[in-house]
């Protein structure tokens, strides 16, 4: 296992099903370490399904089934010997709608640390909570009201709290499913700036509907599309550096989509 290789995640012949429906077919991509990879594509093409395969969240859907492999630091996370709980600890996730726990701001972060085996003193915990909030660019706004409910924050603050909660447990990868789609432009900008900061320590995969956002924030872009209209299975049709995808794509469908000519 080489923790320093260029690629942190790699999918091999990945097929994702809901029951008999093949939602995402035959994906083979390699995700680079400490880079931001965007997944774009029209609604229903399987972006969220693919993203949720990376930390085995799909398994929470009873009908979901996975074929193929996802290598995380060269280890197949779908190997029967691997505990999905461990996978999710190392590959965190931020969701489309901010979903803080109905606990205090402090507890929102402390809880994840505790379930992941934190056994230190109160002051050590305080420090970790503060660090996570600082890293998520939220500390100054909440430092005087850590005991208030996480639900009392604004949408953008809630989303940064969710990011803080995720990075507090020090995952290696952060998956983000349209993390800014429920936020106003200013809050969105803050999240995007934050992503650039986080990139230094984390690998980020982000699903976004917003072409400009993908272009602004990501280093690599995976373009997803339905393979054909009979089976309605989505797949990655092109994967390259973001500027290539946006300025000089190989696939005509990518070109049409990124220039807004996609019907």
């Amino acid at each position: 296992m080489n923790e320093n290789s260029e690629y942190i995640l790699e999918t091999r012949n990945l097929n994702l099903y809901y029951g008999n429906f093949l939602a995402v077919a035959d994906v083979n991509i390699k995700i680079r370490r400490h880079q931001i990879t965007a997944i774009i594509g029209p609604s229903g093409c399987g972006k969220s399904t693919l993203l949720r395969a990376f930390n085995r969240m799909n398994e929470l859907v009873p009908t979901a089934r996975t074929e193929g492999e996802i290598l995380f630091n060269n280890e197949n996370i779908y190997d029967p010997s691997i505990d999905p709980v461990e996978v999710r600890r190392r590959i965190g996730m931020v969701f489309q709608k901010p979903n803080p726990f109905p606990k205090s701001i402090y507890e929102n972060i402390a809880w994840g640390l505790r379930i992941n085996g934190f056994r230190g003193s109160k002051s050590e915990l305080d420090d970790l909570v503060e660090k996570a909030l600082r890293d998520a660019a939220l500390w100054d706004e909440v430092k005087d009201k850590l005991d208030q409910s996480g639900l009392s924050l604004s949408g953008g603050q809630q989303q940064r709290l969710c990011i803080a909660r995720t990075i507090a447990v020090r995952p290696e990868v952060i998956l983000m499913d349209e993390p800014a789609s429920a936020l106003d432009p200013i809050a969105t900008l803050r999240i995007e700036e934050l992503m650039q900061e986080l990139k230094k320590n984390y690998t980020i995969i982000i699903v976004t509907h917003n072409m400009q956002q993908a272009a602004r924030v990501s280093d690599y872009t995976a373009m997803m599309m339905l393979r054909n209209h009979e089976d309605r299975s989505g797949t990655v049709i092109e994967f390259d550096r973001t500027e290539v995808i946006f300025t000089n794509p190989r696939d005509k469908r990518t070109q049409d989509y990124v220039t807004g000519r996609f019907g």
């Binding site: 929470l60 979903n99 803080p100 909660r165």
Partner: protein, 295 residues
């Protein structure tokens, strides 16, 4: 054509409204009668004596009207029932909402509904003829009528209420919260006990209070199995009498209808009504708070 349809709709509305009115009037009628008789009773017995006295002997020559022994019996049995129903009901709810496969749930749910559908008189005889002998073999001092067997069986009777109302509360916790917890590397048990249950707490509290109120009002089991001896005791192996059982005893007995002894049942009934009313109101507010958080 349209006129006729409008007329039809109006008629239906009026009829439905009248039915709604019937239930409102019935409620007020019952409260009215209860209140009237209760006032008559308190013209002869001091309300302080009633609420603080520790001897209850209205059916004897030397009459004492302290209702506390009946309250004691009621609370003793209800508390015992809750000790059975709360943990089991909550565990069943957690199992059904967080662990059970769709198939397991489709088996368990009807089973709970059957449990809820058994007539309480059957529970009563079950307590008297089945549970009490078992208790006797364990604790020889157990009396033929006792609070404990009624408690245990009543606990099973209200278990479905606790389980199904709590399960509603647990299932109403948004999926997104569970996902948030799983995404942090939480195990199923951690998600269930540390995220879902706390998030559903006010709904679960509502279930508990509703269950307490059912336990307090439950009549048949205690009338059959718990005895007719109003007593200030905390020993569940003894024969006691609950408020409901007392009302049954007097209603079915030969106490003359105009006597003060007979009027006691309205005062006791009023107190019972107030106790369950308060419980239901508290439960209502918990449920409402819960809705406000998630809807």
């Amino acid at each position: 054509m349209t006129n006729r349809r409008i007329l039809e709709q109006k008629t239906v509305l009026v009829i439905i409204f009248l039915f709604a009115l019937v239930s409102v009037f019935t409620t007020f009628g019952i409260i009215g009668v209860l209140l009237q008789e209760t006032i008559l009773f308190f013209e002869q017995v001091s309300i302080v004596e009633f609420l603080t006295g520790t001897r209850w002997t209205p059916l004897f020559a030397s009459k004492k009207f302290g209702v506390l022994p009946l309250v004691n019996g009621t609370v003793l049995v209800a508390a015992g029932a809750m000790v059975v129903a709360l943990p089991l009901g909550l565990l069943a709810a957690i199992y059904m909402s967080e662990y059970a496969s769709t198939r397991a749930r489709s088996v368990l749910k009807p089973f709970l509904e059957i449990l809820a559908g058994i007539p309480t008189v059957v529970y009563g005889y079950f307590a008297l003829l089945f549970v009490t002998p078992i208790l006797k073999s364990i604790f020889p001092q157990t009396q033929a009528f006792n609070a404990l067997s009624a408690s245990i069986v009543m606990g099973f009777m209200i278990l479905p209420t606790v389980a199904s109302v709590s399960e509603d509360a647990l299932s109403a916790v948004p999926r997104s919260l569970r996902e948030a917890a799983y995404a942090l590397g939480a195990t199923k048990a951690e998600v269930a006990t540390q995220v879902v249950v706390p998030a559903a707490l006010s709904g679960i509290a509502a279930a508990f209070i509703l269950a307490i109120s059912r336990a307090i009002g439950e009549t048949m089991i205690v009338a059959i199995a718990a005895g007719q001896q109003p007593k200030m005791t905390l020993n569940p192996l003894e024969s006691i009498e609950t408020m409901t059982a007392y009302i049954v005893q007097v209603s079915l007995g030969d106490t003359p209808h105009q006597s003060i002894a007979y009027q006691t049942i309205f005062a006791v009934g009023m107190l019972l009504f107030l106790m369950t009313l308060v419980m239901n109101i508290i439960s209502y507010f918990f449920t409402k708070r819960f809705r406000e958080v998630y809807e």
